[in-house]
Assembly symmetry: C2
Homo-oligomer: 209 residues x 2
DNA sequence: TAGATTGTTAATCGATTAACAATC
DNA sequence: TAGATTGTTAATCGATTAACAATC
């Protein structure tokens, strides 16, 4: 399959193109060239064409790409032509922020279940979504056809939560705890490690002087 | 300088090693090998040694690295041997979560100022930190010696905030808005784009069937 | 010493960029 | 047609991994 051969970085750029195309479509633009697409993100046109070439031929020589058509195809490739159900574990400050984050629902990622362990939080509701005990995770994942999990608990509990998720059949885990998780092969994980981002900065800032 | 030649990915791994060393030190471990260091994060020992080699020779052939010594040196290299002052712009849900995020202060990143534009928020206080109008950004950055900025506002206002930050002398911008920012050369930016992470997932999930 | 592990050079791998024929 | 822009092959670049002499 071509699956394994597409670099992850290319997929990330595809997301950028898709977002840009949505904007162009809203502006009523009909055609766009690989040069235009790359320009605002400082991506060479040749990189844009290469990224697209992993998935097919979408353009017309001489005139570029149809904004509408390419947007449609990219959304399809990225799987954002449909909705995905998401489970959020951790109803603290971060969980709350993620729950209300407008960027998720806009792309069809729906947080349909929220979990926490603290007795003070369980059975409270956020905008009509009841906070459930983690014990209910497995059942709910099946019932609500959830395929993505977000870990927004402290580092100490993160691995346990991830284990539960994978056992319940979740195939992709977005982790905010500052700790790399072990997940079974076939389960995908992405880590948003805020401390590492800031440490990158402090490295750079230290070098400045 | 060796500055330009060190890959960014190597710096990120350095953060991982530093974190691991802190754990080992807490456990009372004295020595550690490159193999041990890489193991839990699935990084080959040869990669670990290569990463360290960008900055010097820290080990003893035959016995490995002193946990204490290497930890100290890495913290120094990463610039986390001292505190950094941070400005947070955007006092919404996300801003609130970042403000309370324990991982920041633990590493010496101190959010010493919070800004927002909404009249309903300005002059309110979070744990003793007054929310200021963005108009005060420049002045406060100078007064409080702030070198890092966090953008936690919606996409529509993000560029404007980043401009203000860079003009005020901030040299590193962590951006949570789903939008790549333009910053002057010499200013560093990192983007935490949650939508792109999830779109990666949906790509992967779509391919699974 | 013998065993272990470093630091570094060389080989490999993969991704980015350049070049250009194809063609709208 | 002439100008523009694609899709793709080849060249370049940079990072990862393997190998191994140095040495504790």
């Amino acid at each position: 399959m071509n699956f394994k051969k597409v670099p992850l970085t290319a997929i990330r750029r595809l997301s950028i193109y898709a977002r840009m195309l949505a904007g162009l479509e809203a502006d009523g633009k009909q055609q766009v060239s690989s040069r235009d697409l790359g320009e605002t993100a400082s991506i060479p046109s040749t990189q844009v064409r290469k990224d697209l070439a992993y998935f097919g031929q979408f353009g017309k020589r001489g005139s570029g790409y149809s904004v509408k058509e390419l947007g449609f195809r990219l959304r399809k490739i990225l799987g954002i032509d449909r909705a995905w159900n998401v489970a959020l574990v951790g109803a603290g400050n971060l969980g709350r922020a993620l729950f209300s984050y407008p960027g998720f629902s806009k792309q069809g990622f729906r947080i349909v279940a929220v979990f926490d362990n603290s007795p003070g939080k369980v059975n409270k509701s956020w905008k009509g979504t009841r906070i459930q005990s983690i014990k209910e995770l497995s059942k709910t994942v099946r019932e609500k056809n959830i395929s993505i999990g977000i870990v927004a608990v402290p580092a100490s509990g993160a691995q346990e939560v991830a284990d539960e998720m994978c056992k319940a059949g979740i195939k992709a885990v977005l982790n905010f705890a500052p700790k790399r998780l072990k997940v079974p092969t076939g389960c995908m994980q992405a880590n948003v490690d805020l401390a590492i981002e800031l440490e990158n900065f402090s490295y750079y800032l230290s070098k400045l002087r």
